[in-house]
């Protein structure tokens, strides 16, 4: 009796498990998307319609953080999951997925068509070992946002490139807080890497090296300089009391309030600040006081290499629909769609021609600054061991109030080497 009911329960459970499937035989492509404002869902619907029965795209949401997204994707790929038809991947994690052959090769013609006018920075993020392994979808970069009132009071000429030093002095002098990302998270690696790359150096010597031979060069003049800038902001409490938990959003909130002055951040802050001013959670005249400029330089003579973010689209090797998936990807990444996505979701295109869309200029008056930054932007260290490198950098460079600029870079180098050789725990 009891046994029978238990059996029934299992049967019911099994029924629920296998409940889904297509009714009409149209191949269903699953697109694993990172959280956004619904833009990817809209594109999925649009391309499904355009496909006219050739395929149907359904979306599945990945976690919030890029490292968590990587974790989910890597585990599913390793599990041989055939549902990974299209994946939205953050560029730094592409080598780790490409190296073991988890990604289906991009057909030559697709690669050619989709990267025709891709901005250089974004293209670099789509490659592994000189091959295009994913298709660029959108690209992101940080620029310098500032309160015009503060810059003016400090006597800074923002029409010319400014340096970190100048900003720091201005903040100190005006008794304001600078918005950076001081939280122990991926954003710390973004910052450190941008500071190093802005000095025309790279954290990695040879990206393709094996785990045993991988070397990092944080312990160099460029690395120490980066640590110096971060530590000055930390030790002199120039980023306010909440620096240890300050991420992109907290930084923006501080920037919008009384102590706001300068901020390095992604373009999403523009739409968010306007929205906040409209719904009354901040003073309505704040957006008028916001200005923008290229990412700050480390050295006055050397153009800055702003951080590069964004999303590329990849196809899982075990997907049963490689061709259809790439067909769908081509539909998704059309320049018009990229432009639309920027306007609706605040994520800039990776394609240069998409920037010509008139709506962009209207909604994002700083689009030119962004496009130029994307051409100069430098990807984070491209290696299958990016996760380890990033974790160590986060470890050694936070809390930013306590880093020793002379020793932290060297410790980071040693730590990374030991972790990758399996001599130390991360």
């Amino acid at each position: 009796m009891k046994g029978r009911t238990a059996g029934a329960a299992v049967a019911v459970g099994a029924l629920l498990l296998t409940g889904c499937g297509t009714d009409d035989g149209t191949p269903v492509l699953t697109w694993y998307i990172n959280p956004d404002d619904g833009g990817q869902q809209a594109l999925a619907d649009q391309c499904t319609e355009e496909a006219d029965g050739a395929y149907r795209i359904q979306t599945s949401l990945l976690p919030n953080d890029a490292p968590d997204q990587r974790e989910q994707l890597a585990r599913r790929l390793a599990a041989g999951d055939s549902s990974l038809d299209i994946m939205s991947i953050d560029p730094p994690f592409i080598p780790e997925l490409a190296e073991p052959g988890f990604l289906a090769p991009v057909p030559d013609d697709v690669a050619e068509r989709t990267t025709e006018d891709t901005l250089d920075g974004a293209l670099a993020g789509a490659m592994w070992k000189d091959e295009i392994v994913t298709v660029p979808f959108w690209a992101n970069t940080q620029i310098l946002w500032y309160r015009e009132s503060v810059a003016e009071a400090a006597g800074l000429d923002m029409s010319q490139p400014v340096t970190w030093e100048e900003i720091i002095d201005a903040v100190r002098e005006q008794d304001k807080y600078i918005s950076i990302q001081g939280v122990r998270a991926e954003s710390m690696t973004v910052w450190v890497n941008a500071l190093v790359e802005s000095q025309e150096e790279s954290i990695l010597v040879d990206p393709a090296a094996s785990a045993e031979d991988l070397e990092t060069t944080l312990d160099s003049d460029a690395g120490r300089m980066a640590a110096e800038i971060i530590s000055v902001i930390g030790q002199d409490r120039l980023a306010g009391p909440g620096v240890a938990s300050m991420d992109e959003n907290q930084g923006m909130l501080m920037f919008q309030r009384d102590h706001g002055s300068f901020m390095v951040n992604w373009p999403f802050v523009w739409a968010a600040t306007n929205a906040a001013a409209e719904d009354g959670s901040i003073e309505s005249d704040v957006p008028d006081d916001v200005g923008w400029a290229p990412y700050p330089r480390v050295d006055a003579e050397t153009p800055a290499a702003a951080p590069l973010g964004g999303i590329n689209l990849g196809v899982g090797i075990d997907s049963e629909h490689h061709d259809l998936a790439y067909e769908a990807i081509e539909c998704i990444v059309q320049p018009e769609n990229q432009a639309e996505y920027f306007v609706t979701n605040g994520n800039p295109p990776s394609s240069e021609s998409a920037f010509d869309d008139p709506r962009i200029e209207e909604d994002y008056p700083m689009a030119d600054v962004i496009r130029e930054a994307l051409d100069e932007a430098a990807p984070r260290p491209q290696t299958p061991y990016y996760n380890e490198i990033s974790e160590v950098i986060q470890d050694e460079f936070t809390p930013i109030s306590g880093i020793d600029p002379d020793r932290a870079p060297q410790r980071a180098d040693t730590f990374i080497g030991e972790v990758l050789r399996g001599e130390r725990l991360l």
Binding site: G13, L17, R75, A78, A79, D247
Partner: protein
Amino acid sequence: MSVTTKTRLGWAIAAVLVLGYSLFPVVAIFANSFKTPGDLGNQRFWPTSWTLANYEMIFVGQAQELFLTALRNSIGITLIATFIAVVLATLCAYAIARLDFPGKRLVLGAALAVSIFPVISVVTPLFNVWRQIGLYDTWLGLIIPYLSLTLPISIWTLSAFFRQIPWDLELAAQVDGATQWQAFRKAIVPLAAPGVFTTAIIAFFIAWNDFVYGISLTSTEAARPVPAALAFFTGASQFEQPTGAISAAAIVVTIPVVVLVLLFQRQIVSGLTQGAVKG
């Protein structure tokens, strides 16, 4: 008379303290769930203006898909796991309370050992097996591990309940010609039902609470339960903190707990105390 008044006052104070202790954090997150984004940054306890926006977000808004599917997963997986655990534990506890057979101590020892098992120690191997046999990110892939959480305490609690049942009734039934199985069903099940029910509530709490299996053995809304989904919430933009939505979702998943506690306080207390210590 004055002594009584004093005692009453003392008890009133004690009661307020206990209530404050038990409910304060719940009230705090309850208050959060009604705050506007602006209020969430103002460091006050209560909202300055109450809003339902956070509940709208998880039930009809942007977080709807994430939350509602997770809620469905949680309810479905937890109920099925609870049901199977209680059925199996009832049989097992009956054998333990009633029968004398070699291996009984082994079963009890196993229940004990499993109840002290660090879940984190088994998720990696389970993940590997699950991905090979296709249970990764499925309901069944969570139901089975949940049994390992719920079975031990169910067996304990039920064994304790069953010891208190007047088994002579069963004997009487057997004398009347019923087999042991029939005697169990006809005479004992009605008496044991309250204990089984209590066990089900406790098992439900445990399965409902799981987090480690939830985040390790799922990766999409196909099976992700609410506690794991809470860690996946996103704000209005990629970088915004989802404090309000998480608070609202937290309150929603706390409602079943509060309802069960309000309705079955007596049973839960007796179940927990009898199952765990006899003295």
